[in-house]
């Protein structure tokens, strides 16, 4: 399988990474090179094989559903590039 330029642009948008017109053909080549590399996996017989979902065979640990943390607004906002009145600031999202 290989990707065309339109697909590169679609993936870039899904990944929320701006790709310039100059950069797109290089990315296309690199992505196709990697897709070529993984192509051989299509020949592996995986009939009836369960996908790995847990690296170690263990039951998912569950914690009690209760609040264990909080009142740390200052810590959470400490690294924010833009903040106001205890909130993160982003460009206007709705009109």
């Amino acid at each position: 399988m290989s990707v065309d330029l339109a697909t590169v642009r679609r993936i870039a948008h899904l990944a929320r990474i701006r790709v310039s017109d100059e950069e797109a053909p290089f990315l296309q080549n690199e992505i196709n090179s990697i897709l070529d590399f993984v192509e051989e996996l299509n020949a592996v017989d995986v009939e009836g094989v369960e996908p790995m979902t847990s690296v170690q065979p263990m039951a998912m640990k569950k914690r009690v559903d209760m609040v264990t943390d909080g009142n740390i607004v200052e810590k959470i906002l400490a690294n924010a590039p833009a903040r106001e009145d205890g909130f993160f600031v982003v460009p206007k999202v709705i009109e």
């Binding site: 790709v19 993984v38 051989e40 592996v44 690296v55 924010a80 590039p81 999202v93």
Partner: protein, 493 residues
């Protein structure tokens, strides 16, 4: 006083205990060595004041007879571990200036046991790379050089700063992480020892995530004993990581020097790749002979799905990375590029903040997870992962205790020598190490000799789940038998 940076971790620990020198003296020696070694670019941030403050506290404890297992031992921390109050970047522009308000569990365990911090070690951006050339803060230069050459050599990656710092005696040990070989390949390239423990042995909490089902923390150190000492402190159950395993941590140092007589060592025939260099094949053969001479039983085994591990890895790892790295959005921390709306802000921030290799992997991961491709790529790769793990399970069921393989297909290379035209060329570095992550197993790399051009070569031991002790015992047997590799003399200082 003799040069304290020439000690091993165990020697320094014993010297502190017998009061031959103080923790402050020991840390001062390393602080000075770090300051002289800027040309290697191993550290992104140096924290000499913190190290000396911790060392003073250590001297007080030693005086009171209250020394802890790593009291006063100066370490370097890979800049993928969040350190409270100290910049943590994952070697990415997108996190430049990020100062965590919390401490990773593994580094907290080291401070709990008395270690001191010299600084944050350079790495490939978000741990994506095999040469430490993708760091936003510039490449790490290996302290090693080829015979009769001053060409700059890579230390391997992604834990290149960790490996270079240990090999150049810029710390007594370093934390590292391994997703596809990022502890073991740089250890092999620098003549140091690195262990990727079993998945779940160390907590991943507070370590910047790359591919969560493959990432594991582990140490890089000068020798097997030092690595065993460090792993004991790093490992352990953590309620904050649901994949960390609630099992007691053995005293790994006790395994160092244990007899390996009667241990069954598997030699997987699929690792003898077409075109394997004669030098690597000969090194592997010597490793077999050393273990046989130490009393181990050698047995040829088959791991038939080996060749699919690397391609499957390049689906699973980018897929998980694309999801993990979605959090870098220019809103909560790190870099922000202003845009006309929120989507514009995301796209501009991520284009400016991520380097080339990281962008490429996020794109691949996004593609293989996107509608219509998920089953063909990601689901298939996870099924192949089951087959890879089954290969190992079957080998262990027949009584194999550990598996011996080469660590890397070649010695270290020069800066800019690999991967410029085709990213896959760089990926092939991990061909012997990546299977271990795919199966969640422990893997130890020990130095075993020098290449014809004078660079270190390593051997890898792969163990049963949670049987790191056997790896330490076998690793020490190889260390004993192999020619001693003297660390390079400081041409950089």
């Amino acid at each position: 006083m003799s040069d304290l940076t020439r000690l091993t971790l165990a020697e320094a620990r014993n010297g502190l205990a017998s009061k031959k020198f103080s923790a402050v003296e020991l840390n001062q020696a390393f602080v000075a060595a770090v300051a002289r070694a800027k040309s290697l670019n191993a550290y992104i941030v140096e924290t000499p004041d913190k190290a000396l403050e911790q060392a003073r506290a250590s001297d007080e404890r030693i005086a009171k007879g209250e020394a802890r297992p790593l009291e006063g031992i100066p370490l370097g921390i890979k800049d993928l571990y969040a350190t409270e109050g100290v910049q943590t970047t994952a070697a990415s522009h997108i996190l430049e200036g990020f100062v965590p308000r919390y401490e990773s569990t593994v580094s907290a365990n080291l401070w709990r046991d008395g270690a001191t911090m010299l600084g944050k070690l350079n790495l490939d951006e978000f741990a994506m790379g095999s040469s430490n050339e993708t760091s936003f803060f510039g490449p790490v230069i290996s302290p090693w050089r080829r015979k009769n050459s001053d060409a700059k050599i890579v230390p391997g990656g992604s834990s290149g700063g960790s490996a270079a710092a240990v090999a150049a005696r810029l710390c007594l040990g370093a934390t590292a992480t391994d997703t596809g070989g990022s502890i073991r390949q740089p250890a092999a390239f620098t003549g140091t020892v690195g262990i990727k423990p079993t998945y779940g042995r160390c907590s991943r909490w507070g370590i910047v995530a790359f591919a969560s089902s493959l990432d594991q923390a582990g140490p890089i150190a000068q020798n097997v004993r030092d690595a065993a000492i460090l792993l004991r402190s790093m490992a352990g159950h953590d309620p904050k990581d649901t994949t960390s395993v609630d099992a007691p941590v053995p005293d790994y140092e006790k395994a160092v020097g244990a007899s390996v007589k009667g241990k069954v060592i598997g030699i997987p025939k699929e690792y003898r790749l077409d075109g394997m260099s004669a030098e690597i094949a000969a090194l592997w053969d010597r490793g077999v002979e050393w273990l046989r001479a130490a009393g181990a039983e050698i047995r040829e085994i088959s791991l038939p799905h080996t060749r699919h591990a690397l391609p499957a890895y390049y689906i699973v790892a980018p897929a998980e990375a694309s999801s993990n790295l979605a959090r870098y959005d220019g809103v909560r921390y790190g870099l922000r590029k202003t845009g006309k709306d929120i989507v514009d802000l995301y796209e501009l921030t991520r284009a400016a903040g991520f380097g080339k290799e990281v962008r490429r992997r996020i794109m691949i991961g996004t593609y293989v997870l996107s509608a219509g491709y998920y089953d063909a790529y990601y689901l298939r790769a996870q099924k192949i992962r089951t087959l890879i793990k089954r290969d190992f399970d079957l080998a262990y069921q027949t009584g194999v205790d550990a598996i011996l393989t080469p660590a890397t297909p070649s010695p270290a290379f020069a800066l800019g020598e690999k991967g410029a035209a085709d990213p896959v060329e760089m990926y092939l570095n991990d061909v012997f190490t990546v299977t271990v992550n795919m199966a969640g197993l422990p893997g130890l790399v020990v130095p075993a000799g020098l290449s014809s051009d004078g660079l270190p070569l390593g051997l890898q031991l792969i163990g049963r789940p949670f049987d790191e002790e056997t790896l330490f015992a076998l690793g020490e047997a190889i260390e004993e038998a192999a020619p001693k590799i003297a660390l390079p003399e400081p041409w950089w200082a």
